[in-house]
Symmetry: C2
Subunit: 733 residues, 2 copies
């Protein structure tokens, strides 16, 4: 297990989609689904591009997949051998998640014997536009082989087609496909160079959307033939002339050669792991699952970008519209803060840069300040629909309120920014838009506040909290507390103005004194629910008057397994059954708001009432359990988070539409559980402390974290935590 | 037509339920559905009792029907002749709605010839417990007849059975049935005395729930046989010993005889019509329909009671739970104020007496003051369910908000009380609970008011206005205006305290000065929507951003003709299509809030967007059209209201459940249209004025109204209105 390999042997058609996520590789610029070389859009093949979106007609706006330069298949003695159609003798897929290398081996049975293909590919971690692939062919007899390889521009989409035009050109021996998106006429260029056994004389074939090399040769018995391939992807998002840049970049890599680039890939990943790896002695399963989760986070992190965030399904395809949710700030950020703060900064810079979009959304709904997108695309465009769910009984779209009433999103941005600043000590982000963002979010909540006339308590009504099964509730505790936090953070920045000229400059548009007093008043008077007589903090006004039942009983009321549990008439809506951690999320984020006893009372109350219908749920329960000294209760929920992509499962299909993908928030949540939960790490006031809460099987837990430009190496046993400052300098990642 | 008769000839099984409403008679104590003598609960036979309710298990609470003493059928030569089973030669039902006399004639074809039965019955308008019936039998040959007549205690219910016990006793020649309700063990006693041809020697039969006389005789060719019957109904609601009172009362009536009681009935109705009748020269259809509507109002008015209101479906049966809605104050009250103010007072006394129920409801929802029941039963118990509609697609109950968010109900009570006081000049009602009721309603709205923090505008959010298709809206104009009105009325009473000792005494529990200042502040600052740039008053915040479409288009989207248009996902919910008059109701109630031009712009905007899915809708549009000088546009909507029960139609069945009944609010609305719309009558500041707006066909309109103890007789032509004070003294009705 700790060999950093995961593998699946045998071919199972049902697993094609799950394997696409399981064996995904990526580098933050792109994600390459773990599909096979011969696969096309039917198998959800995708070179998913970060930050490039397209909208066609009335369809949802969604990310665009690049034409696929890995596309390859072969014919032997005139017969095509491809999965899922052909018969295999054996088949396996493997991932070296230490180095981002994806392998495949398939032995096809042919009329005269067997043909074996073995491949590897990667998305290069240093040269972000580069894809490399090796494709080995052997046969146990002299076989006549036609190898087809090139670029498949017939890309997967859910609401496409996204390319209006696809042009194919041969540039010396390089295949170049240039496609143009529908909405913004953005160019996407893929250039590919591939040679078999070092010989580049080939024939070429163009079909409507495929541009292929056709290489015919005799594969001698037990002799290895190998196709070596390098390709690059560029878009108009990256540079002024993607065609020119693509050609130039590819030529450079070809010059250096596949092996050299592969070596670089390995070195680069080794460097990444230095501050990322988490060692768990005594529990190989957990160690593997956790580091595999971190692999996924590292594969989609914007190391290369100044301003880019991570979608809820990473770079694993079309689902969730490729949009950025609160998942990033709430569940993924911690890992990057602890290991790669520059990536963390890019995540937050994306939010700062999309402030105008958030301001426009606020204005649209009649509010002040910044109301961030629930499903954020480029420029902060909110891809969320007012009708996000389809009624299975009528086929009609159902009015949902995720977009307009899940107002806690803006506070998550503030939380991310302030956490970044406190962890790194880097205030530049604040001076360059960050402080303004915090204030605009505070102004947003200010404009939401209501009070009963002639009273002095401020409320936030008609919202959806983290638990989406209960719509349009009043005084969701989590939401109110996050709004209060936002006011408090804004006040901290406003008070800073008197002694920090750069802050004063950054906030010069505001009437500092007046707005500070107002926000202080808001923070003081906003209604924060307290534990009731039984110690339960009600999730929202009237929550405990709802039917008190069990998840199983509610599930048994389903008339259709695909029906939505929430909305106005869902099976959960009028009950105390919730989708995901809500009050518990509050308790995790603000541990000082409650005593350990209060936390455990609420954990024990809410956990059995939670469906865990979101991958964001389990980790919050497991972190809180740890903070109550209950690591054993935390452990199964931790594993659930850490294995989200390894095991697959979860909801993958809604009718014919694929809604699966990777779960980076669960990955980030598992990391937080390990570090802050089991590891008991607290980082505050210049101090790093750790109080171990290791589960039974864990003998040792070891990891590094960065805090204010200092690396700490923490080694814990059940009894003891050793915190060591590492003297090496922080590399510029 | 002006012969005060309506009739239906021929037998049509489909019309049984509609005829039950059409030929209903009543006297405010009870309503007798216009069914045939041989009918039972399957034909929705009912002696519906005002104010007596029962609840069984989880079923809805609903009114209780008395055992039916009209039950009669005959056998000829050993064969039973009853509808709907037997063959008839001719059949007709008739109603003399001048005198509350219901007739039936049926000629049955028998093996040897024909047998004819002719009947009449009435609910006595003076002796409220008394029912009278004559049942004539003739034959065109010598026929052997067995006549069965007595009391049928197998009563119609929707959520019954309501009687736990049914006891039958013969008391001399009187049949006595005593039944006991399930919930409150209330006694219901029916005593019946019937003789054929003046001979009371008979046999008796008891089946499980029927107690019958069996009378065998030869019906000689062309000789009349006649059954004369008197019966009384008493309940524990009326008196301490219903059995004793029933026997005594019946004996008295039997003593005086059927003919004498019938004469009294006619005299009593003639007296009622003196101040009720509306004469319309030139339009017999309208005249008939309108006076027939008034007949229905007179038949269910609480003339006999000090404190009793009228259910939304009158006394026509089990539907709408026999509950009292805002219909009474808003749509029926005007007729009684103008013609029988003592009945009006009883309607309002019911509300004053149910103040504790309203206060309890407010407390239940966390509010102050009085939140009146949406569906009021005895004691102000709110019979409305949180799940008032069944989803036709899933069969599941749908969460509706009629009960908890239709907050405008309390203002309707205030409106009724203040209108009564202003019209009659009788302040006693205020001194005895009325003023307190007004203040408690104002306190309710006070506790609903919200303001955005740091602003000075008061809002009411999350309500349902009169248009029930749009749930949980903010700042419904009608609701806010009614709340403002409530504050204003409360302030009037509070200011009165300084010069009116009895008022000061009535309100001594309040801090007069403090609460007045607070209500004045509320009235000043509450947000009242204004016409937008196009002159349209938005029904609620964001109304005009909803899809603008047509009623027909919305109807075409139905997947099931019985599906609910409103709720969260109804076909109308996200559109501007509304169920019933909403802004227009506001404009009718507060005519001085808008110019005639503004009214007409809004009429023209909203009318095509209104489904008129409630019988309360059409009359509001027709009154407003009149006030804009458009009587022709008003006329078809007026007829629709006036003919609601005459023509039948409307929604009568929801699956297997009967939801029809009479429509007294439509009747009252038609009356208001005639008097205040076409008649242009305004009553204010001691003055009665009239500006005719007669429709084309109306040559003359003549009616009486009472105002502050003075009868005014108003005679109008298209050009002119003559207002004459009638000198006769007001009788004590």
């Amino acid at each position: 297990m700790k060999n950093w390999i995961i593998e699946k042997t045998g071919f199972d058609q049902q697993e094609i989609a799950a394997n696409g996520n399981r064996f995904l590789c990526g580098n933050g610029y792109m994600g390459i689904r773990g599909t096979l070389e011969e696969y096309g859009k039917e198998q959800l093949c995708a070179i998913n591009l970060a930050g490039l979106y397209d909208k066609v007609g009335e369809g949802w706006r969604e990310p665009v997949n690049a034409p696929n330069p890995l596309y390859t298949f072969l014919c032997v003695d005139g017969v095509k051998y491809v999965l899922p159609q052909s018969e295999t003798i054996c088949h396996e897929q493997r991932l070296d998640y230490r180095h981002g290398l994806v392998y495949r081996k398939t032995v096809f049975k042919t009329a005269q014997g067997t043909v074996t293909i073995t491949t590897e590919h990667f998305a290069h971690m240093e040269k972000r536009h580069l894809i490399g692939m090796m494709y080995y062919i052997t046969s146990d007899y002299d076989a006549e082989v036609e190898l087809y390889t090139g670029i498949d521009a017939d890309v997967w989409d859910i609401n496409g087609p996204h390319y209006d035009e696809v042009n194919m050109n041969l540039d010396e021996n390089t295949l170049v496909v240039q496609a143009v998106t529908h909405e913004k006429k953005e160019k996407v260029v893929v250039a590919e160079y591939g040679v078999l056994n070092g010989i580049c004389e080939q024939a070429y074939e163009k079909s409507e959307k495929k541009f292929l090399r056709k290489i015919c040769f005799q594969c001698r018995k037990n002799k290895l033939a190998y196709l070596e391939k390098l390709a690059v992807v560029y878009t108009g998002n990256d540079c002024g002339d993607p065609l020119e840049d693509a050609k130039k970049d590819l030529a450079e890599s070809v010059n250096m050669g596949y092996s050299f680039m592969r070596k670089k890939q390995i070195d680069c990943w080794e460097e990444l792991w230095k501050n990322s790896e988490v060692e768990i002695t005594g529990d190989k399963d957990a160690e593997c699952a956790l580091n595999y989760s971190l692999y996924h986070l590292l594969s989609i992190a914007p190391f290369h970008a100044k301003s880019q965030s991570i979608p809820a399904r990473g770079l694993s395809g079309q689902t969730y519209k490729g949009a950025v949710f609160w998942d990033t700030e709430m569940f993924m950020l911690d890992f990057f803060l602890n290991s790669h703060p520059k990536a963390a900064k890019a995540l937050l810079q994306y939010r700062i840069d999309t402030l105008p979009g958030a301001q426009e959304k606020a204005r649209h709904y009649g509010y002040e300040g910044a109301f961030y997108a629930w499903e954020s695309q480029e420029g902060g465009f909110d891809a969320c629909s007012d009708y996000n769910v389809t009624d299975v009984f009528t086929g009609r779209p159902m009015r949902t309120y995720f977009k307009d009433k899940q107002v806690h999103i803006s506070a998550a941005i503030v939380y991310g920014i302030m956490k970044y600043v406190n962890r790194t000590g880097d205030s530049e982000l604040l001076y360059h838009g960050g402080a303004e963002t915090v204030l605009e979010c505070a102004r947003f909540y200010d404009s939401l506040l209501l009070q009963k006339v002639h009273t002095d308590v401020y409320e936030i009504r008609d919202v959806i909290g983290p638990d989406e099964y209960h719509e349009r509730v009043n005084n969701n505790g989590y939401t109110n507390r996050m709004a209060q936090y936002t006011f408090e953070q804004a006040c901290i920045l406003l008070r800073q103005c008197s002694k920090d000229k750069r802050m004063a400059e950054a906030l010069k548009e505001y009437d500092i004194e007046q707005i500070r007093m107002r926000f202080e008043d808001n923070a003081r008077k906003i209604y924060i629910p307290k534990p009731d007589k039984e110690g339960i903090v009600p999730q929202f006004d009237g929550y405990r008057k709802l039917e008190d039942t069990t998840v199983e009983k509610v599930r048994s009321r389903l008339l259709n397994e695909k029906e939505y549990w929430g909305g106005a008439y869902g099976v959960a809506s009028d009950t105390q059954i919730i989708k995901q951690a809500d009050v518990v999320t509050w308790m995790v984020m603000f541990p000082d708001d409650f005593t350990a006893e209060e936390k455990w009372i609420n954990w024990s109350y809410y956990e059995p009432r939670t469906e865990h219908g979101s991958s964001l749920s389990a980790c919050m329960y497991s972190i809180l359990a740890c903070s109550c000294g209950k690591p054993q209760e935390a452990y199964p929920l931790f594993l659930k988070s850490a294995q989200a992509d390894l095991k697959g499962g979860g909801k993958e299909w809604a009718g014919d539409i694929y809604i699966g993908g990777t779960h980076p928030a669960a990955a980030g949540g598992a990391y937080m559980t390990a570090i802050n939960g089991f590891g008991g790490v607290k980082i505050a006031d210049g101090q790093v402390t750790a109080v171990p809460q290791l589960p039974e099987s864990w003998e040792k837990l070891k990891f590094r974290i960065l805090y204010q430009n200092q690396i700490y190496e923490i080694t814990e046993t059940k009894e003891n935590a050793e915190i060591r400052k590492v003297s090496c300098e922080l590399e510029e990642m």
